[in-house]
Assembly symmetry: C2
Homo-oligomer: 329 residues x 2
DNA sequence: CTGTTAGCGCGTTCAA
DNA sequence: TTGAACGCGCTAACAG
């Protein structure tokens, strides 16, 4: 393993000089900088990230907190996009990233979690799919001991940035398109679960649309479950002329119910997951770019670390019509 | 942040004594051990894993190398299971784990990759879904600079353990069950892709069965693609009376083709993925427990680090009949 | 059995 | 502009 010392010797300079070149300090002459860089190339030197992390608290690591248990809209595919986006961007920015599943921190008190993270030199955190009941994580955000970026939850403070699409508007848009396409009037809305922040926002968008278009609106709690959505659709779809779902998974459940009932109703979903070989008909959905959202989240953490205050970041989305033959892979 | 020194002061002992207690050294008196442990509890101390890693090369980290691009049998769900299993087990064994996607190391020469890993204090590697064309990774295994565990690929040396189910036997079993159930004779076998190690093994199992049962066997390359499998089935299914697929995804493609053709043929798959709301009929499949495989992989890395030689580990599987109503979630 | 000491590889003062 | 020296938190010899 080639260390910074060998590079220094090879280049005939001091260790600290190499360090300064590595970290882009300004006050280094071009001559020495090039000497050092040549030595680095030649020795194929890569700085030891462990040592760097230990030495400077400033350049700590970022924890990605995922909850794969929460069977919400979060199909594994979405998590993989999140992970990919975060890891790629982290590599780009030269940041170290640690993946943490909530199962690994379950049962910890806020203090324990705090210690646990500090002990790993973690300074920044990205929280995906926060629930209203995650009191420990909520406390973590509140205490501002770490730089946080929260995806799809409304938290902003000096050290916390919120990121996500505008769920209220997106739900409004996709529902409106679906309803206008088929001139519908009686909406069955299958909502998410109560402990999720997006659920309320999406419902709000649906309600606004219903008000504006003077629609009849029946709201049922689908809990982001395919099965529950299916049962709801089985029970109520006949008397309604359109089904709006707060997630693609529930939309699939609803569509399956329609097949069983042998009736047709326009359906729309949310998320834009592509692993849907099972969609036999077309369906409108809100497509979010989870990869971009996650990349941006990492950039936001970096921004916080660099001293900028937390803020609200709204990501773009698009309304798309998915069709079986387009999405088979 | 509580450091080991504070604990030492609090307990009235030397730093090294605390360290010895932490790492379970034998020659510590019960009295001091308890004093130290009390101090640890009281101060809610968690050792800094970064510092520990830097200090002792022995306790390095483990890299998980995943290739989400490879659209093989590897649905994201499988990767999530792998990740979960690995992270949970790593936490259990107090090992640090780093997630690496192949996109992050693409284009590196073997030397660069070697440096890159060393620079992160990585000593062990778990490679999921290795392809025959990954010359860089293959070289990594060959050079034995790291402790490797390879999932579903036949590599064993002093520092490399291979782990996975017996694909040859599993393919044999699931095909046999499917064929016996319906008294079939003419098999359409949709194989994986040539660059995968499991493809050959599964095909071998199918061929053995065909020999034993004196079946007519037509083999086509499906490349683990739903679409390709669908096209193959569209073309050949009519003249065959059973379709055996080397992955669930391809089985789904084949089933969709059968629906289009409006004919029935028994189909069997491989993997046991559960995200299949789209399976309208029942289907036999080989169910692998990816979580267990991954946990075991971590244990195997630990075993290698502890000085044991590499070996072949065969994991159990089961043949299951999946049905729509069982797997909706 | 316990404490002292010397690093691990790097970042960062402060002199020079 | 450069380099010597110190320290991050911990482990691992060694000495007592």
């Amino acid at each position: 393993m080639v260390s910074i010392r060998e590079v220094a010797e090879h280049a005939g300079v001091a260790i600290s000089t190499v360090s300064k070149v590595l970290n882009g300090y300004p006050n280094i002459s071009d001559v020495t900088r090039q000497k050092v860089q040549a030595a680095i190339k030649e020795l194929n030197f890569v700085p030891n990230s462990i040592a760097a992390a230990l030495s400077s608290k400033q350049f700590g690591r970022i924890a990605l907190i995922l909850d794969p248990k929460r069977q919400t809209q979060a199909i594994d595919q979405i998590f993989m996009q999140f992970l990919l986006g975060a890891l790629d961007q982290a590599k780009e920015l030269n940041l170290e990233v640690v993946t943490i599943f909530t199962s690994m921190i379950a049962g910890m008190t806020p203090e324990e979690l705090n210690r646990h993270l500090h002990s790993q030199s973690i300074v920044g955190i990205v929280i995906y799919s926060l629930s209203k009941e995650d009191t420990v994580l909520l406390k973590l955000i509140e205490e501002q001991d770490f730089f946080c970026v929260v995806v799809d939850a409304p938290f902003v403070n000096k050290k916390t940035t919120a990121i996500g699409v505008d769920h209220e508007q997106a739900q409004y848009d996709v529902a409106k398109k679906t309803i206008l396409d088929d001139h519908c009037q009686n909406v069955l809305y299958i909502a998410g679960r109560r402990d999720g922040y997006v659920t309320a926002q999406r419902l709000k968008g649906m309600k606004r649309l219903a008000r504006e278009m003077e629609l009849s609106l029946l709201v049922k709690q689908g809990n982001f479950s395919e099965r529950t959505a299916r049962q709801i659709a089985l029970e109520y779809a006949k008397k309604r002329d359109v089904i709006v779902c707060a997630s693609d998974l529930m939309a699939i459940g609803a569509m399956n119910a329609l097949i069983d009932l042998d009736i047709f109703r326009p359906v729309c979903g949310f998320d834009g997951i592509t692993l849907m070989g099972y969609v036999g008909k077309q369906m409108n959905t809100v497509r979010q770019d989870f990869y971009s959202i996650s990349s941006q989240a990492i950039r936001e953490v970096k921004r916080l670390i660099d001293g900028q205050p937390g803020r609200q970041v709204t990501m773009p989305y698009s309304i798309v019509k998915m069709h079986y033959k387009d999405i088979i892979c």
